[in-house]
């Protein structure tokens, strides 16, 4: 990328030397000094951290560079940073001045700057650059080497510094914002997953910590001390949140004791950082930063021991590599910060972008896996529902078949019982009366008995139905109605039938037989004994009952003696009605006789 940037930058217009002035003269001054003191200059190597030399110097340090310039070509100057705020003079003329050179100091510690110096400001031969740096020893006040030379070349170096110190950290911060929003949102949707919350908080802490690279003033804080305390506090918070994240990832309910210990350490660090006088800051910042870095590194290793759904070897390798990159960058940064290795650039923030990639991979993995599980679950569910449906259908069919069988068996038993009680009873009665007759039975009496038997057999056949399937009552009645209708007609008796609401009424065979027997008995009585001119048959169905009325205008009979007078007919009717849970009633006077059968449809079997 660097190479690309260099290529993309303006090509060197003329052959010129890029001077890196890594040696300068330095002298201490006061916060308010407008010019360097005459005496006390000493040579220093750059980059310089004056705390090494003057551990208690808070205020201004003047740096003086000299270099030879030839010809009247324009020249450019560049400083990668000024710690903390500064102003730059060329040959006594002010070239640059930071916004605030007193507390709260402008934060120029990571801001690269370049200046195009007009030829008029330059001298043939030796030129002097004076840099007035306002800063504190505790925060590594100092200056990097000054670059001087041909503008295009300086521009290239400037852009490189800008890329590493500004653009990439900006990108990394944007990535952190994305992570914070994403995981914060996830946590809001699923508050149970506290690991998400800690990850969001951790990323937020990192985001604010990284903002140190871009901030140009300590606002909204009062000054540099507060800023630095907060900065290190954020790092400590970041480490604590990371630890909690890893813990919660491992066990959702967390580990109260360990968490309490972590927070205790964090609170200790904060109290230390915020109460310490400035002189102790350097050492304690180094201490707490190291502790935070170590804890983070330990937690990062811990991530690999938990149950994140990393299934394939390739993913595991990818995650390991990304993690190592971040850890290496963090280690480098720590060492730079502690000044154990040379350098002034920090890379951990940029490398943390790799974390985003890792998370994207893991989340995508988790998402697709959840999706696949859901799909599989759905498929399983559908299969199970289908199986359950089939089973239910089978069961229902079996139950239905069983019920049907029971119904048929019941019908059969009922029919047999009807045959036995009705036809059988009549047969037995006929046989008895023939056997025990004291004198020869007249032929017409025998004939009457046989005809009664035949009629009852007919009724049973009619009631059973000639066709498969349920027969409505009016179909069941039809043969009897036709037969008796013809006989009534032949005898000159008008017979009218009135059927009401029975078109869709289907009864059991027993009830059908009962109804037909009643009608036959009642109508035969009318035909044989009443001397009526007209008969009316009402078959009425109400919500609960079936009511049969046979009315005639004949001579009638005495109700009290009904049991004897018109033969056994009426008594038989009553006995049979009782078997059907029915009631038979008579009303008779000359000119109007009504025989009624009332069957309770709800309780009838």
């Amino acid at each position: 990328m660097l190479a690309l940037l260099l290529l993309a930058g303006p090509a060197p217009a003329a052959a010129g030397e890029l001077l890196e002035l890594a040696r300068a003269q330095a002298v201490r001054g006061g916060w308010h000094d407008a010019a360097p003191p005459e005496a006390g200059w000493q040579a220093v190597d750059l980059p310089d951290n004056w705390a090494v030399r003057w551990p208690s110097q808070d205020g201004v340090v003047w740096y003086r560079f000299t270099w030879q310039h030839a010809g009247d070509a324009p020249a450019a100057l560049m400083l990668a940073w000024i710690n903390m705020a500064g102003s730059v003079y060329v040959n006594g003329i002010e070239l640059h001045r930071d916004a605030s050179l007193l507390e709260p100091l402008t934060r120029s510690w990571n801001t690269p700057r370049q200046w195009l110096v007009a030829p008029a400001l330059l001298r043939e031969g030796e030129n002097t650059v004076l840099v007035r740096v306002a800063g504190m020893a505790a925060y590594q006040g100092g200056l990097p080497p000054l670059l001087a030379g041909e503008p295009a070349q300086v521009q290239a170096r400037y852009e490189e510094e800008l890329l590493w110190r500004h653009d990439l950290p900006l990108v990394a911060m944007a990535a952190s914002v994305v992570i914070v929003l994403l995981f914060g949102g996830l946590w809001l949707m699923r508050p149970r997953e506290t690991a998400y919350a800690w990850f969001a908080l951790m990323s937020l802490a990192w985001l604010l910590f990284e903002f140190n690279h871009l901030a140009t003033s300590p606002w909204p804080l009062a000054g540099t001390d507060a800023w630095q305390a907060l900065n290190t506090s954020l790092l400590v918070f970041f480490a604590a949140a990371f630890l909690l994240f890893v813990l919660r990832l491992r066990r959702e309910e967390g580990a109260p004791l360990v968490e309490a210990a972590i927070w205790l350490a964090a609170v200790l660090a904060w109290a230390d950082l915020w109460s310490l006088p400035r002189t102790g800051m350097a050492a304690h910042r180094a201490l707490w930063s190291s502790v935070a870095a170590a804890a983070t590194a330990a937690a990062a290793v811990g991530v690999f021991a938990v149950r994140w759904p990393v299934s394939s070897r390739r993913e595991r390798t990818l995650l390991l590599v990304l993690m190592l990159i971040v850890l290496a960058a963090a280690a480098h940064d720590l060492l730079v910060f502690l000044q154990w290795v040379p350098g002034t650039r920090y890379y951990a923030g940029i490398a943390s972008c790799a974390l985003l990639v890792a998370l994207a991979v893991l989340l995508a993995r988790r998402f697709t896996q959840a999706l696949r599980e859901t799909e599989q679950f759905n498929a399983r569910l559908i299969a199970q529902v289908e199986a359950a449906k089939t089973e239910l259908r089978d069961t229902l069919e079996r139950t239905h078949a069983l019920k049907l069988m029971h119904a048929r068996a019941h019908e059969r038993v009922a029919l047999a019982s009807d045959l036995h009680d009705g036809l059988g009873g009549m047969l037995v009665g006929s046989i008895a009366s023939l056997e025990h007759a004291s004198q020869p039975v007249p032929q017409d009496r025998i004939l009457a008995m046989l005809k009664d038997l035949r009629d009852d057999l007919r009724l049973i056949l009619d009631a059973t139905g000639q066709q498969p399937g349920l027969q409505p009552l009016d179909d069941v009645i039809a043969p009897l109605r036709h037969r008796l209708g013809t006989l009534f007609e032949a005898n000159g008796i008008v017979c009218r039938w009135h059927l009401l609401n029975v078109g869709d009424l289907t009864l059991t065979t027993s009830l059908n037989i009962g109804v037909l027997r009643f009608l036959q008995e009642a109508l035969t009585n009318v035909l044989k004994h009443s001397g009526a001119r007209r008969a009316d048959v009402y078959v009425t169905r109400t919500r609960t009952h079936l009511r049969l009325d046979v009315r005639d205008d004949g001579r009638g009979f005495a109700v009290e003696s009904a049991g004897d007078a018109p033969g056994n007919g009426l008594r038989n009717m009553r006995t049979r009605a009782e078997r059907l849970a029915g009631v038979v009633q008579w009303q008779s006077r000359p000119g109007r006789t009504v025989v009624t059968l009332l069957i309770d449809l709800l309780s009838a079997r």
Binding site: K451, R454, R458, Q466, Q467, D474, D475, I477, A478, P479, L480, R481, H482, R483, G485, T486, L487, F488, E489, A490, V494, C495, R496, W497
Partner: protein, 229 residues
């Protein structure tokens, strides 16, 4: 509507293999005024054909199950050789196939042996008047025949014997329906505001429409056999 043609119950031919039944039917016919010498008997299809060859009968009463064949065959034979002589089935069977095939062969009535003599004589009286007795169970069989599913797109249903079922007039269908519900002729006549005789004529027409092959064809065939002068 066709002109009502009265039927002479005399002379009559009784075809049944059971002597008791022959005796019974002869008694019924005598009760209706048929002199004993005008009643011929036959116990088989062959004998019956001989009798028909000997003389012309006003009516033929035929049982279905005969020792040497089916009454249905004989009715078909009758229709070809003496189409003007009405045949009435007197049967113990009430299965659908038998009823339908007898009517399709040309019977103008289907009576059950189980009926009382009185009922039989009422039915024969009706025939004598030119009507045709019909029972609910017969009406229901005919309705079933008419409702039989025909070939797809066909206008008239085709019964198993391959002969198309004739289409009945709405009035005839109405009468079939009422018969199936058990209404007597008197009741139907009152309900439809027509005479009782007209009702019987309708039922006779229904029977005629059921007969397979056209009447003219039967007549032609009869002529070919030299049975019609």
């Amino acid at each position: 509507m066709e002109v009502i043609e009265p039927v002479h119950l005399s002379p009559a031919l009784v075809v049944d293999d059971e002597p008791a039944v022959r005796q019974r039917l002869a008694g019924v016919l005598q009760g209706l005024g048929c002199p004993p010498e005008a009643i011929a008997m036959a116990e088989s299809v062959a004998k019956a054909r001989d009798r028909v060859g000997e003389r012309r009968f006003g009516v033929v009463l035929v049982d279905i199950g005969l020792p040497d064949g089916s009454g249905v065959e004989f009715i078909g034979w009758m229709r070809r050789h003496q189409p003007d002589t009405p045949a009435v089935v007197i049967s113990a069977w009430r299965t659908e196939d038998v009823i339908v095939s007898a009517l399709r062969a040309g019977a103008i009535g289907y009576l059950l042996k189980e009926r009382d003599d009185l009922e039989l004589s009422l039915a024969l009286r009706s025939i004598e008047r030119g009507g045709a007795p019909i029972d609910p169970f017969v009406a229901r069989r005919i309705m079933g025949l008419l409702a039989a599913p025909g070939p797809p797109g066909g206008s008239s249903p085709v019964p198993p014997d391959g002969e198309p079922v004739p289409s009945l007039s709405p009035r005839e269908r109405e009468i079939l329906r009422l018969v199936a519900q058990g209404l007597s002729n008197r009741e139907m006549a009152d309900l439809l505001s027509i005479s009782k005789l007209t009702v019987e004529c309708h039922t006779k027409n229904i029977y005629r429409k059921l007969v397979v092959n056209s009447r003219t064809e039967a007549v032609f065939e009869a002529r070919r056999h030299g049975l019609l002068s």
